[in-house]
Amino acid sequence: MENIEIQPTATTPRISFRPLEGYFEISGKSLPENSYDFFQPLLEYVEAYAEKPVDATKLVFKLQYFNTSSTSHFLRMIKKFEKIHSAGKNVEVHWFYDEEDEDMKEAGEDFKVLLKLPILIKGIKMD
């Protein structure tokens, strides 16, 4: 599988998917006009990855803000990684938030309620 590197825009996040390293990162702002069009190809990519994942997979979120239709797609994506985890592989979700941003911390906690794989929530300094 080839890497995916998508540069951020004012309304879409930066995407860095490096399957050979088991590293998947979504960062920045996510308020696409059509979340489905933006995320569906990425979800299909992750589904293909899930068939032959490496031993340890890390999914990293570093978001500033997002719209609610993006949230549904984030959840759909994490659920695909959850399947890899239930198949016995090592999978971690790292949900980073700006240390001032309690709202983003709570968004990570929402996912924790709905999912069974390890989600690490951590405040960091963001630009």
């Binding site: 004012a10 308020l31 803000y65 719209n67």
Partner: protein, 182 residues
């Protein structure tokens, strides 16, 4: 040619405690630009981070809702999917007002939906948010209806709304006002 007093307009905007406003056609890039502008204005006013974030989230959902669900207003109101957007602060509360044209036939469904959400307490709203999010993740199209839940959850207040008749019976001007306590 004499123009009307700019100073009067300047004072009038101040009297309404406006931070800033926009009237006109929307695009998603413009939504993003308005959010950036709101963000820097709120920083200037030293709005606590939590309040600023709540306002930004409400703007994202409210303006995109307006962008996706409004209809083209009649020519007398200008071309395009016009909206009204105001952000201001009065008596220690921020107010956000967003208005746009909708088909009159949508009024019943929309007001019933908001009334139902307004009758719920914070815990019920949070539970419903999680339920709709989880359910939405099962479908391709995502969680429809999460926007209003997020607006209520983040504002901590009810949504006030109004429907005003536009030029004929086919369309109305729908607006909502959301308060965020300082």
């Amino acid at each position: 040619m004499i123009i009307s007093s700019a100073l009067d307009q300047y004072k009038s905007m101040g009297n309404h405690q406006l931070i800033f406003g926009y009237r006109g056609s929307l695009s998603n890039d413009l939504v993003s630009a308005l959010i950036q502008m709101a963000d820097s204005k709120l920083k200037e006013l030293e709005t606590p981070f939590r309040k600023k974030k709540a306002i930004i989230n409400i703007l994202i959902e409210g303006l995109q809702n307006s962008l996706f669900h409004s209809i083209e207003g009649q020519k007398t109101f200008g071309n395009g999917h016009n909206c009204l957007f105001l952000l201001g602060k009065r008596e220690g509360e921020y107010f956000i007002r967003i208005g746009n044209f909708i088909e009159s036939s949508k009024k019943e469904v929309l007001s019933a939906k908001i009334d139902k959400l307004n009758s719920m307490d914070a815990e019920q709203i949070q539970q419903m948010y999680l339920d709709v999010l989880d359910l939405g993740a099962l479908s391709d199209k995502g969680g429809a209806g999460l926007g209003f839940l997020r607006i209520i959850r983040d504002s901590g207040n009810k949504i006030a709304y109004s429907f005003e008749p536009a030029d004929d019976n086919q369309q109305m001007f729908y607006s909502m006002e959301i308060l965020v306590s300082d």
